[in-house]
């Protein structure tokens, strides 16, 4: 059973691969019906699948593919011209074949799908168009109301008509003969020629049988030649598989094939690569191996860890460099670090490449789609594909399909006009849709260009107002691009009539969501009457990304660089408030702004400086300016999930570990844009806390003053002078300590006495550091110093001191100055 499963898996993988190519070939075939190569290729797919499925006892599938093969074979021999009608039937049967394969994959059996109708049509086409071709035996079978024999594993003889019974008997005889012949042939033929499957000769017309014999002889000759050539590489010759005779298919006339040819009848598809390979001396073995995606994912995770390690190493190296400047070992360390980082980067690229798939995998299904759509919509549409070899990450390939389908459908339905309209507009009758893919830096760009009627900004606006998506006021302020973006709003649909193709207003909304999920951007360009171009810009990979690190207060956040359009430094005056929202003018655009602190509830401890940095974020079709306190730089980060416990936090896409071992959160730009809509702007506002700093004082000890001086004596003098007031006194020996005490926030200080000359951090520096905090902006700082020069006083004022007491001083004087500055209430 296991063995069977294994074979089944191989069969499915192979079949799906074949089918993928098939759609493309078929559409091409329609434009070039005489291309024999193409026909042969298509025929071989049907043939291979038929052979394998009969071996695996999938009777329904075998039945269907058999008839497909018949039809294709006729076309191959010129007995049948492929026109649109024939094509429709072929495509229908291919779809059915796909459905069957999917069924087999999911449930392990191929029952439950109705193939007879399709088979009937296949045969009708085959019979109707080719007079010369002899009547196919299976065709009449289909007309019988109970065509059980073809579907059931064990044919139900009782339900058969006479003709069927006879056919069945003949089939059995044929099978028997074939079996015998195969046995004989195997005995005669000592070479390990492959009998991988028994081609179905029974269903063939005379002409086909002849052709088949010719083909087999050709194959045989080629094989002989190959054998001679490949004597050195004997081991590569394929092994003989047991002839799967019992699976020989449907009722039909007797096989008239010489037994000699039989053993040498491998599936044609298989014989070809072998010929090529062995003719070249057997040197080209298959150069690819299949790898489970999970293994690649694991590998990618490991690389992620390595990148983190590398970042950390670089950071440590920088620190070491600072500390041991000029030492000899530094040079060596530097070299090692740069080699490690270089190799890591290369390794990362190499692993990423193993996950890359050509975008052609996605593009392949579009020719067929366009063909179906143009018939359905009675339009003439041509699809041009450029750059289908462009590669991108597997996970993205999987996600990109749906959006593209919607966009292309949209272009066909709304973009391209009907031939009559096109002619009237002075364009060619045939509309073109161009599908382009190319790399641009770390992005892949997919462009969908149609030469249809284009988007009409005014029409879009009025439609949106009508549907209540936007207000008239909003519409007035909209640029053309913003109006184009309206098509992505949920509930928007410009089609006057809902067709089966599009117009339900769901599709384009899905496009936007999916592209946002990939951190991609959408750019629409359109001109009325000329056409529309939609540009999707998507990062190449998702696991390791480039990020812009920004700071707000004491926190850092990583923004995916893919979403960053630019950064600008602005002064506070450039921020305007319109309807309680902050905006700024960026060149000729008005950009709405939001402070990252408002989004992430960051406590405003520090004062906002005069300047701010604005990170302009673009995602899909929208833009927003994110105000941050500082820009740290660009770094390669590895996305880690926050885990089950914290998942789904709005605005956070994940976390990454930085070079210093700390965790930095990654901004989810799409969510952030949503959140920005509901956040009240507080740009330029002081936090309420700063205003309410001076709490209610109930006793003298509620007042708190810090004494900062490095001299124990001086501190004692100050303490003695102030003790009579009964206020709380806290001592610090230098600026650093003072700042730490402030930061801890254990006390609510009403004033500070600061010495100027101190180790580690002097009084001036301390004062300016303190003034950076919003909370302590109005904290009275009193300098107590022996420096009396005018310059010193000036510096004191500049750094934010409000009083300047020179040593020596009288206790009363100090007490009075303090009392005045902390607004001491004598009544307590």
């Amino acid at each position: 059973m296991d063995e069977f499963q294994e074979i089944l898996q191989d069969f499915l993988v192979e079949s799906f691969e074949l089918i993928e190519q098939l759609d493309q070939d078929l559409v091409e075939l329609e434009s070039r019906p005489d291309d024999l190569d193409l026909l042969n290729r298509i025929f071989r797919v049907a043939h291979t699948i038929k052979g394998a499925s009969s071996f695996l006892n999938f009777d329904v599938l075998t039945h269907l593919t058999h008839h497909m093969e018949n039809l294709l074979n006729m076309a191959r021999h010129g007995d049948l011209t492929i026109d649109a009608n024939v094509m429709d039937v072929i495509l229908e049967s291919i779809d059915l074949m796909k459905a069957l394969l999917v069924r087999i994959r999911d449930s392990g059996e191929d029952s439950g799908l109705e193939v007879l109708g399709c088979v009937g049509r296949l045969d009708a086409v085959a019979n109707g168009t080719s007079e010369d071709a002899p009547v196919e035996a299976p065709a009449p079978v289909q007309e019988v109301p109970a065509p059980v024999a073809t579907v059931e594993e064990e044919p139900d003889y009782s339900g058969m008509s006479d003709a069927e019974v006879e056919a069945e008997i003949e089939r059995l005889i044929a099978v028997r003969q074939a079996e015998d012949a195969a046995k004989r042939a195997v005995k005669q033929d000592t070479t390990p020629a492959s009998v991988e499957e028994e081609p179905d000769y029974s269903g063939m017309s005379d002409a086909e049988v002849e052709a088949e014999i010719e083909r087999l002889i050709a194959v045989r000759q080629a094989e002989d030649a190959a054998k001679r050539a490949g004597k050195k590489a004997e081991s590569e010759a394929p092994k003989a598989a047991p002839a799967p005779v019992p699976a020989a298919p449907v009722a039909a006339p007797k096989a008239e094939v010489t037994p000699v040819a039989k053993p040498a009848a491998p599936a044609p598809r298989r014989s070809e690569p072998k010929e090529e390979g062995e003719n070249r001396g057997g040197s080209t073995v298959e150069q690819t191996i299949r790898v489970d995606v999970k293994r690649l994912d694991h590998l990618m995770n490991l690389i992620g860890e390595l990148v983190l390690g590398k970042n950390r190493l670089i950071k440590i190296n920088d620190d070491v460099e600072e500390r041991y400047e000029g030492e000899a070992f530094l040079e060596e360390l530097n070299q090692v670090v740069s080699i490690v980082s270089l190799v890591t980067t290369d390794l990362q690229i190499a692993v990423m490449k193993t996950r890359m798939l050509p975008i052609g995998k996605v593009f392949n299904k579009f020719p067929r789609m366009i063909r179906d759509l143009s018939r359905e919509l009675s339009k003439n549409i041509e699809l041009e594909i450029v750059g289908e070899d462009t590669e991108l990450d597997k996970s993205i390939v999987e996600e990109i399909g749906d959006p593209l389908v919607h966009i292309i459908r949209n272009s066909c339905d709304h973009g391209i006009e009907t031939p009559a309209v096109r002619l009237a507009a002075g364009k060619g009758e045939v509309g073109t849709i161009q599908l382009k893919a190319y790399h641009e830096g770390n992005h892949i760009v997919i462009q969908i260009i149609d030469d249809g009627k284009g988007l009409d900004a005014d029409m879009l606006k009025s439609k949106s107002i009508e549907k209540g998506i936007i207000t008239e006021k909003e519409a007035d302020g909209m640029s053309e691009k913003e109006a184009f973006a309206l098509i992505f709003r949920p509930g928007f649909s410009t089609a006057a009539q809902v067709t089966s193709v599009s117009g339900r207003g769901v599709g384009m909304d899905v496009v936007k969501t999916n592209i946002e999920k990939l951190n991609g951007m959408i750019d629409i360009d359109s001109e009325v009457g000329q056409g529309t171009s939609m540009k999707l810009k998507i990062p190449l990979t998702l696991a390791i990304i480039q990020a812009l690190l920004v700071g707000v207060q004491e926190e850092y956040y990583a923004i995916p660089l893919a979403s960053v359009l630019e950064t600008v430094r602005i002064s506070k005056d450039e921020i305007y408030t319109v309807e309680s929202r902050s905006v700024m003018r960026l060149r000729d655009e008005v950009l709405s702004l939001v402070h990252i602190g408002d989004i992430f509830e960051v406590e405003r401890v520090f004062d906002n400086s005069e300047h701010a940095y604005v990170v302009v974020l673009g995602l899909a079709e929208s833009k927003i300016g994110l105000i941050v306190d500082s820009l740290v730089g660009q770094e390669e980060i590895v996305i880690k999930s926050l885990g089950e416990y914290l998942k789904g936090i709005e605005g956070i896409a994940g976390a990454t570990i930085r070079g210093d071992g700390g965790v930095t959160l990654i901004v989810d730009v799409a969510a952030l844009m949503q959140m920005a809509k509901s956040v009240k702007s507080t740009v330029g506002q002081e936090s309420a806390e700063a205003k309410g700093r001076l709490g209610v004082k109930n006793s003298a000890s509620d007042y708190c003053v810090m004494i900062v001086d490095d001299s124990k004596t001086d501190r004692t003098i100050m303490r003695k002078s102030l003790e009579p007031l009964g206020i709380t006194l806290v001592e610090a020996t230098d600026g650093v300590e003072a700042l730490n005490i402030l930061k801890q926030g254990d006390h609510n200080f009403d004033g500070m006495l600061v010495d100027i000359e101190m180790p580690r951090m002097d009084g001036y520096t301390l004062a300016s550091e303190i003034k950076k905090y919003n909370k302590y902006k109005n904290l009275p700082l009193i300098a107590v110093t022996s420096r009396t020069g005018k310059a010193d006083r000036m510096r004191g004022v500049e750094s934010g001191m409000i009083e300047y007491i020179t040593k020596p001083y009288s206790p009363e004087y100090l007490m009075n100055v303090v009392k005045r500055n902390i607004k001491f209430n004598e009544g307590l």
Binding site: E305, L308, E555, I599, F600, E601, V602, K640, S641, L642, G643, E644, Y645, L646, I649, E650, G651, I652, A655, I657, G661, G662, V663, T664, L665, Q744
Partner: protein
């Protein structure tokens, strides 16, 4: 299959599990203090205990979630048990520890005031949680009685369950 065979298998399994409970009669706990009370969790649910390290605040979370920290390359949530239990927060001291607990794939760090000891407790000394607390909401798995004190045993899976 015959019923008899099934019965025999059942009986064997019963015997086996019966033996298991005998072995399991002593449970091992790690005790720690949060506020004024001593709590404990089964020793096997503890991945490790570390000294406080720096963490990163995560926005849009309840106050008891301090944020996330980096435990050798993994990003792990950090939960303050004091505020989880509705107690006022304290500044971390020399004795503060992060207990990293796990339940299946769920892992989180918990800030506790200080560790006490590893406790071996016979299973019969463990009583049910006080009935006044509704069963589904309670974080308490049971109460362990020792000669001189009472130890609250916490439900680790409940602690690790997201409740916001």
């Amino acid at each position: 299959m015959s019923e008899k065979l099934q019965q025999i298998i059942n009986k064997q399994q019963k015997n086996l599990s019966g033996e298991d409970t005998k072995i399991d009669e002593v449970i091992q706990l790690v005790g720690f203090i949060v506020g004024d009370e001593e709590f404990s969790v089964p020793i096997l649910s503890i991945q490790e205990i570390i000294k406080p390290i720096s963490w990163t605040r995560v926005p849009q979370t309840p106050a008891y979630i301090l944020g996330v920290f980096n435990l050798r390359g993994s990003v792990i949530p950090l939960i303050d048990l004091r505020s989880r239990f509705g107690l006022p927060t304290l500044k971390h001291t020399e004795e503060t520890r992060f207990i990293v607990m796990k339940n299946g794939d769920d892992v989180a760090g918990f800030v506790i005031d200080r560790l006490t000891e590893a406790i071996r407790l016979p299973k019969r000394d463990v009583g049910p949680a006080p009935e006044t607390i509704s069963e589904s909401e309670s974080l308490i798995d049971g109460v362990g009685k020792q000669a001189d004190r009472i130890i609250t045993i916490l439900k680790v899976w409940k602690l690790l369950e997201r409740n916001f």
